[in-house]
């Protein structure tokens, strides 16, 4: 066995895996060659030092996860703008019937400003509401200020989840866009807050008359007027019948609601509010 060959066996000898037939000539050479022995001892110390690195703790930055999420969101946004959204994402969107919770695209999660109190803003919130909405054309813009650790989930009214965020004293601002043809009813749950929203699709719904639940009515409103609707009702399954006419939904709706009290208001944030007591 040559010195050069012996060096090739340093690792396997150190690990105890050098086969017997090679181990004996290797050990003979180690005993007889002081230079090789010194090299092997240095090699063994090198390996031990490498192993000792394992015990050295490496603490990641406290905001590592947020940095990764922000980069991921940004990458998806850039890809969607350039049409390079991975095909599987596109297929998934169609499979969901087209309602795109565009939270991956342009969602902004930022640190909250210090202190409490919210000034009047486009969301029409002058109170201490944490979950707020505004309309941007047919799109609903969601804003939520997480007081601590909180999750925000957007799901279909049927319960199928579409998107969720985990927040830690952060402000979320995200558009919710319906890319399907017809209006859809979605539920937004944020911490202890909950909201039902009808988000219009890309095409006006053809039927101005109908009968169904309040949820269906909210969807019909959104689809007819192509305006997002927020439904506030203890029971969204209450049955109503409706006829829609004219251009102003607050004036144009005639409802048969029996003993129930149902009102439609145009809010300063651009949404229609459908309230039922």
């Amino acid at each position: 066995m040559t010195i050069q060959k012996a060096r090739e066996f340093f690792s396997s000898y150190h690990e105890g895996t050098l086969e017997l037939g090679l181990r004996q000539p290797f050990e003979r050479l180690l005993r007889s060659d002081a230079q090789l022995r010194a090299e092997y001892e240095a090699f063994a110390r090198t390996v031990e030092s490498l192993e000792s690195m394992r015990a050295e703790p490496i603490e990641p930055p406290f905001d590592l996860h947020e940095r990764i999420s922000a980069r991921l969101d940004r990458d998806l946004w850039v890809r969607s703008r350039s049409g390079r959204v991975p095909i599987w994402l596109a297929i998934r969107q169609y499979a969901l019937g087209g309602i795109a919770v565009a939270a991956l695209i342009g969602a902004i999660v930022s640190m909250q400003a210090g202190g409490g109190g919210f000034t009047a803003d486009p969301f029409g919130a002058t109170s201490q509401e944490r979950l707020r909405f505004s309309a941007d054309g047919r799109t609903v813009v969601l804003a939520y200020d997480a007081p601590g650790s909180a999750s925000v989930t957007v799901s279909r009214a049927s319960g199928v989840p579409l998107q969720s965020f985990q927040l830690q004293r952060q402000r979320l601002r995200s558009p919710i866009t319906n890319t399907s043809l017809r209006a859809e009813l979605v539920r937004v749950t944020a911490g202890e807050d909950d909201a039902l929203l009808a988000v219009p699709g890309s095409r006006r719904d053809a039927k101005p008359e109908g009968k169904g639940t309040l949820g269906q009515f909210a969807t019909a409103l959104a689809g007819w007027y192509l305006t997002p609707v927020r439904l506030e009702a203890k029971d969204a399954n209450v049955t109503v019948s409706w006829r829609l006419r004219g251009v102003n939904p607050a004036d144009a709706v005639s409802l048969d609601v029996g003993n129930k009290s149902v009102t439609i208001d145009q809010e300063s944030n651009g949404l229609l509010r459908l309230s039922a007591r």
């Binding site: 390996v47 192993e51 000792s52 690195m53 590592l64 990764i68 980069r71 599987w88 994402l89």
Partner: protein, 198 residues
């Protein structure tokens, strides 16, 4: 490193567009990914960038992950590639030539001086010095050797897992690791006096 059933479930949910599952997958492995990247770079910003790049690649390529190898093995492969790409980009940037002379008035030239501001071996204490020497020596090695050494000795991947991650036969992994250890030993023996302390 066998495939964890929990990982398979998260991956399937991710593929289905469940972003919260992707978040869970990231949370599960980001710390380990960062530690690996930091061992390679010794730079927290670069390490964080590598980890973010890696998870973006994971997210975009998830449909191609068939589960034939463990997710972690695949992640190590992607992390290593991100690290190699980072180093490649750095090498293509222009650097001031260490041999460039500075022209001063009168025609005399003076060589540009670059001071090594890092601590020299005699300025460091015992075990801390040894670790710093190891880290610095690793950085001086070719990236591929560096990655393999960190994978095996620090991240505790087996030879087989390294082979899967780097798409190398087992025998090649073993022989390359042996060469990498020998090369590291050579670098460290330059400071043999300090290295023997303690």
């Amino acid at each position: 490193m066998s495939q964890e059933p929990a990982d398979l479930l998260l991956i399937e949910r991710c593929k289905g567009g469940d972003r919260s599952a992707c978040d869970d997958l990231i949370r599960k492995y980001e710390r380990r990914a960062y530690q690996y990247a930091f061992r390679l770079t010794s730079n927290p910003e670069e390490a964080a960038d590598i980890v973010a790049d890696a998870f973006i690649r994971v997210y975009n390529a998830l449909q191609n992950f068939k589960g034939n190898s463990a997710f972690t093995t695949w992640l190590y492969r992607i992390l290593t590639n991100c690290y190699l790409d980072l180093r490649k980009r750095e090498k293509t940037r222009q650097h001031a030539s260490f041999d460039a002379a500075i022209q001063i008035e009168g025609g005399a030239e003076r060589e540009r001086q670059f001071e090594d501001t890092g601590p020299g071996p005699v300025e460091l204490t015992e075990s801390g010095a040894r670790e710093t020497l190891i880290a610095r020596a690793l950085k001086a090695m070719p990236e591929y050797q560096q990655a393999m050494l960190v994978m095996y000795h620090v991240e505790s991947l087996s030879y087989e897992e390294i082979g899967e991650a780097l798409d190398l036969p087992l025998g090649t992994v073993k022989s390359r690791l042996n060469r990498a250890r020998l090369a590291l030993r050579e670098l460290l023996m330059q400071d043999e006096e300090l290295f023997r302390i303690g």
